[in-house]
Amino acid sequence: MRLMSSPWFAACNLALAALAAATAAAATRPHYGGTLHVEIWRSFETPDPPTSGYGMPDLARAFVITRWEAGRRAVYEADENAPGGRPFLDTVEIEMARSLRDQSIDLELGKTDLVELGPSELRRQPAGRKVWPSAPVRLMALVFGSRVEDARIREALALAVDRTAIHNVLLQRQGEVSAALLPQWLSGYAFLFPAAADAARARMLVAGLPAAARAISLGVEDAAARPIAERIALNARDAGLAVSVVPQAAGADARLVEVRIGSLDPALALASTAASLGLPEPPRADSPEALYAAERALLEGFRVIPLFHLPDVYGVSPRVKGRPGITPLGEWRFENLWVEGGRP
């Protein structure tokens, strides 16, 4: 089987993004000054701002933190000595712990400039709303704990989940259905992992198993993901499994988790994803075939059941100008943005 080169695809994506940004930049002249108001649902309760991960840590390359209210608010000001030059924006104000629904309302009311959009909120956006999506960089997967020893149970659940229905309805077709760890845009072979549901086979696998063995607790800490877990439980019920959704991931037989793809290098991304999911480190692969084999080996045994690859999606106020401030990997690049009302 001949696979497409993933890095090549990534480069193409980046080039397209840059082209789009240049087109947008040509529309208006940049202005200095102004404050970009951003709302996010996450809440960082740490004494200091986060320095790793995605989002706020990305601002450190062009902005400096000037105010930190743990869990509530952060203010970044333009770094006059930024490597790429001073950002157009004077300030970026970030409000934390805002629900997706509140963020969407605030954007609608003009109280903020940049918000995260979930599937439901994305559907409700008015026509013409500027939306910045990343590539599908978040892997949603089921991860089994050690207590579920029978592989037939795990495989039955993998076969029972109707990914397409969840993708169409609950995810509003955001991202893509997948049974692979790496997204199709990054690996090029994700489609080779079968993602179709087969309830009949799932029922066959668990037929004859005692009821206690067929009872699984599914931990979901993110309330936004709970409807997905409930649907998985319903699909599992059709297959003869008794899945109960619990709000605590710790101690549950299985967990519904999200893992972020951290690299444009497929091999590195696979390794970091495997590490995040508690899978063994895959062998270093220098070809797509080897990478496919390594990923296939990781997914054997159904300890991890990949479900979807989801993008980060941001709604943007019309005041915000400049090329998309979100990279394909979901990184914040606000240094080239400006807002109307800044210094001319």
């Binding site: 559907r123 309805v169 077709r173 409807p227 319903l234």
Partner: protein, 577 residues
């Protein structure tokens, strides 16, 4: 038991029986009347509950029709992509006050489910099986929910947009919340059994308490079998309840549940209890009043009878002049007057009898005296005549004749003296001087005195004395005389010899003394007349011995009797004490 007591008892029994019967009749008729009222009340309450239930169904129908007619439903119906609406059922259900709501596409695919949001995309084929969902109104349906199966009251309506349609199926779960939301009359409660298992399952009883289970289970099982309404009173006392068990049939005519409408009988039982207590109080008062009136009435009725009885008792004690005052003209008055006539007649007859007896006694005494005196007088006359003849004809023999005649005269005069002494003794009969007497000793001493006579008469004496016998109050001399008299009679009765038995035995505070012989015995006529004065079966007796014995025994407040039959001997029995 006196006549008055007996009459009072009869009156009391009659009063108690009458009052009890009346009380029972009144209580029973009252209870039946209250039962009828209670039945009407319960039926009214059940009808009210049915109305409330039907009203709740109409509310659901209105809500579902409202949703189906809404712009939102029409928008969903005409939409080519249902996925944006998967969450709309929850908000529509909340806005219309429904607990359950499913929006289902024309092909039976669930677009959105309020009660189970995850079921989008699943099929509800039963909706497509019927063309017209408006006509049935609200109906019961078995409902699957994430946490199990339940029964719901649902209605279905259809939103149409051209050739596209959207089923709107909404309603309420029949659960504890539903039951508690129903407006129930005072004293009524509702339990629901969801018929979701093949057999009776306690977990499916909603709205009840643990103690209800054993009571209602048979009722539920009966409804499960017969599939029709059943009414029954369960429990007892003030905790009793009248249950109406209504089968809840689903739209496919399957039994989905049993609704138990329970109406407390506490008020009825308490009312009946108050009435019963009041009735019993009134009955008790009536009985007491009846007894009091009976007491008065019996006293009034029995007073003449009591007077009559007292007069009769006086007559019995010898007061033959007793009379009864009679003023009434009824039977008691007639009886009193008859009694008075009777006593007057008795007094007159007694006087006549006394006079006749007195004459007879004198005649008898004269006869006895003549008889007793005639025997010694005749030798006296012969002797005196011999002496006169000897003086006149044989003077030389006169002295000898005089000596013999004087001896004979003296002997006969002694005999006459003895006869006179006996009559004198009978006439005297002094009062007994009471003291403690040991009859066993008295018997032994007396028998010892008679030993020579007994030996001469060839009579064997046998004393059978009771060692338990205690001393008895008696006159020892008179009782010795009594015993001597009886022993002499016994010896006389056995001229050919025999056995004399003297037996004592202890009585309650007294003594029984028996003197038996083995002589010829007495005829019944002789036995009857034996104690009559001057009656004797012997040729030489005065007939006063046993009369004196009877007199002594009578003076000791004792009783003497004789038991004899010809050829079998005679036994005299004296009982004192």
């Amino acid at each position: 038991m006196t006549f008055r007591t007996r009459l009072l008892l009869i009156f009391t029994v009659a009063v108690v029986a009458s009052v009890a019967l009346v009380e029972w009749l009144v209580a029973d008729s009252t209870r039946q009347a209250f039962e009828r009222m209670e039945t009407q009340r319960v039926n009214g309450l059940v009808a009210q509950f049915r109305k409330e239930f039907a009203q709740r169904g109409q509310e659901i129908v209105r809500a579902v029709n409202g949703i189906a007619a809404s712009e939102a439903a029409v928008n969903i119906a005409i939409s080519a992509d249902y996925s944006p609406y998967y969450n709309d059922a929850a908000s529509l259900a909340a806005a219309h006050g429904l607990g359950l709501l499913e929006l289902v596409a024309g092909d039976g695919t669930i677009v959105s489910s309020a009660e189970w949001p995850a079921r989008f995309g699943y099929k509800e084929d039963w909706l497509a099986e019927r063309a017209d969902w408006e006509s049935p109104g609200a109906f019961l349906k078995r409902e699957e929910l994430p946490d199990g199966v339940t029964v719901s009251l649902v209605a279905v309506s259809t939103a149409r947009a051209g050739d596209r349609k959207l089923y709107v199926a909404g309603g309420q779960q029949l659960d504890r919340d539903f039951l508690s939301s129903l407006v129930l009359p005072e004293g009524m409660r509702v339990l629901l059994y969801r018929n979701l298992e093949a057999r009776f399952s306690p977990a499916e009883l909603v709205g009840g308490q643990a103690e209800d289970l054993p009571r209602v289970q048979p009722l539920i099982e009966e409804v499960q079998q017969r599939k029709r309404e059943i009414g029954r009173t369960l429990g007892s006392g003030s905790s009793a309840e009248t249950f109406h068990a209504l089968p809840l049939m689903g739209y496919q005519n399957d039994l989905l549940g049993v609704l138990l409408i329970a109406s407390s009988r506490r008020e009825l039982v308490e009312l009946e209890s108050v009435l019963r207590r009041t009735g019993m109080g009134v009955a008790a008062a009536g009985i007491l009043l009846g007894i009091a009136l009976s007491w008065w009435a019996t006293a009034r009725v029995t007073r003449p009878v009591r007077r009559l009885a007292e007069s009769a008792a006086r007559v019995a004690t010898g007061d033959w002049g007793a009379t009864v005052e009679s003023s009434s003209a009824d039977e008691i008055g007639q009886l009193a007057r008859a009694f008075n006539r009777m006593t007057r007649e008795l007094v007159a007859q007694r006087e006549r009898l006394v006079q006749a007896e007195r004459v007879a006694a004198w005649r008898e005494l004269a006869r006895r005296l003549a008889h007793e005196l005639k025997n010694p007088l005749f030798p006296l006359q012969i002797t005196v005549e011999n002496m006169q003849r000897a003086r006149e004809r044989h003077p030389e023999q006169f002295d000898e004749v005089f000596r013999e005649g004087a001896a004979t005269l003296l002997a006969e005069l002694a005999n006459l003296k003895q006869i006179v002494a006996r009559f004198s003794d009978f006439a005297k009969m002094p009062a007994p001087q009471m003291q403690e007497v040991s009859f066993n000793e008295l018997v032994n001493d007396t028998l010892k005195l008679f030993e020579p006579q007994l030996a001469q008469a060839r009579v064997r004496a046998n004393a059978a004395l009771d060692p338990r016998l205690r001393p008895v109050q008696a006159d020892p001399e008179q009782m010795t005389g009594v015993l001597r008299n009886l022993i002499l009679n016994a010896i006389d009765a056995m001229p050919e010899g025999g056995t004399l038995t003297v037996r004592t035995s202890a009585l309650e505070g007294g003594v029984r003394l028996e003197v038996s012989d083995t002589g010829q015995g007495l005829t019944p006529e002789e036995s009857r007349r034996l104690f009559t004065p001057y009656y004797t079966t012997k040729t030489h007796g005065t007939g006063l011995g046993l009369a004196i014995v009877q007199s002594v025994v009578s003076d000791h407040h004792g009783r003497i009797s004789v038991e004899s039959s010809p050829g079998k001997g005679t036994t005299f029995r004296i009982e004192l004490g």
